[in-house]
Amino acid sequence: MCLAIPAQVVELREGDNAVVDLAGVRKEISLALVDRVAVGDYVIVHVGYALNKLDPEEAAKTLALFAEIGQLDASPTVH
């Protein structure tokens, strides 16, 4: 729930702040809720805070799974 979007950390700032970039739009947010975030990492941003890091490997796996599902044969014995 709750509108949160994945964005890439492009700059670390003082305090707990950082700048994230989503397709060219940059915003300053707080990293107070996450640890060990580096420039280049993707984080999930909600109301100006990063809630979590996004795992690119898992993202890739999920997409690959979607693609695979789409290619399964429409055989009635799939159940």
Partner: protein, 369 residues
């Protein structure tokens, strides 16, 4: 947009849709509740229903913090603005919720209340810093996704030694609400839950395990995008077909079993459980909401302004309560689409773009025509 566009891809959606069609047994009827309002919104906005076979039905749940906010709580916020002359900061979502006396926060603003929309809790702290001569109250609503940001704001205010910042805390919890649905006296057919995306990044997947174990209902945590929702539905269908009731995670790129420990610790430091809390639609639930701990009592607006909650009934024809529990559909409410519209909402389900009524009215009412 990376990690967004790929999860909205039409071709992949078709593939998932066909897989669902293949796997849903034609002789069965599947009812799944998507708990979270964000999913309700995604389903409506992308027309996911069109990609599901007729025997797979989505029931909208109460996971919309604006929708479950009782009138009395909005009244409290309005009173603080109008009677205590505070700067009342609120998220955009709750500004239009209809409260008592024909008011909403937006209408109260029009009558002179200093009510300001903020994007982040940090903005409220900043306002307090900038206006030391005014009291600033942050109307903190939201499920577990939104609570950690409030905790950070309160700690920030404490660190800054602010004497003019406080929070009207209406943060609520997901598992008790799910339990209320499952414990409801009315039997509604729900074969499984699509679990919230971002709440789960914070709390992890573990809290849902009792529902699977004790109530025998599968839960699949789904990401925020339409492909995530489709895949989660497919995973639920599989569990039902296999006779399994487990917690599965579709949103592996952001959710694990433990969740965000740092955020959880911060929340635990600042907040404690209220014994009871009234929810719109679900009634009074025990241990389902939060208030500030004694150590942070000076930031509790209810204490600072001796502000008390007074329960107010919904409009007698408003079916928000039944709709939030999945008992009725928006079109089954007498007021839907005539007296109650997004322009003139009678109940909160019509206000938030995630509310079942607003989502159906705004995106889907052509289906009823």
């Amino acid at each position: 947009m990376k990690y967004i566009d790929e999860f909205r891809d039409g071709a992949l959606a078709q593939g998932l849709s066909e897989a669902i069609r293949r796997e849903a047994k034609p002789e069965r009827h599947y009812h799944f509740m998507e708990f979270c309002g964000g999913h309700t919104h995604a389903i409506s906005r992308y027309g996911v229903t069109d990609l599901l076979p007729g025997n797979v039905e989505m029931i909208h749940g109460p996971g919309c913090p604006v929708c479950v906010l009782p009138i009395g709580r909005v009244d409290q916020a309005i009173r603080l603005a109008l009677e205590n002359d505070v700067i009342l900061c609120a998220y955009g979502d709750c500004l239009r919720v209809p409260a008592s006396g024909g008011l909403s926060l937006l209408r109260a603003k029009a009558t002179g209340g200093d009510i300001r929309m903020v994007y982040s809790s940090a903005d409220a702290v900043e306002l307090a810093r900038k206006h030391p001569d005014r009291q600033v109250v942050f109307f903190a609503i939201g499920f577990e996704t939104t609570t950690p940001p409030t905790a950070v704001a309160i700690k920030q205010a404490a660190a800054l030694g602010l004497k003019n910042f406080s929070v009207l805390c209406c943060h609520v919890l997901t598992p008790p609400a799910m339990m209320a649905i499952l414990n409801a006296p009315e039997r509604i057919a729900i074969e499984g839950f699509v679990g919230p995306a971002h709440v789960s990044t914070v709390i992890g997947s573990r809290p849902y395990e009792p529902f699977a174990q004790q109530y025998g209902k599968p839960v699949v945590i789904a990401g925020f995008e339409p492909l995530d929702v489709l895949q989660a539905i497919r995973m639920l269908i599989r569990q039902v077909n296999d006779g399994r009731a487990e917690v599965e995670n579709e949103f592996t790129r952001a959710v694990d079993r433990d969740g965000n420990r740092k955020a959880q610790a911060l929340v635990d430091e600042v907040f404690e459980l209220r014994e009871t809390f009234e929810w719109r639609g679900l009634g009074v639930l025990p241990h389902s909401a939060l208030r500030l701990r004694p150590a942070f009592a000076e930031f509790d607006a209810e204490l600072r302004f001796a502000s008390e909650y007074q329960a107010v009934d919904d409009h007698k024809s408003c079916e928000c309560a039944a709709i939030l529990r999945g008992l009725k559909r928006p079109v089954e409410c007498k007021l839907f689409g005539n007296v109650c519209t997004p322009e003139n909402p009678v109940g909160s389900c019509m206000v938030s773009s995630e509310g079942a009524c607003a989502a159906h009215y705004t995106y889907g009412r052509y289906r009823d025509a």
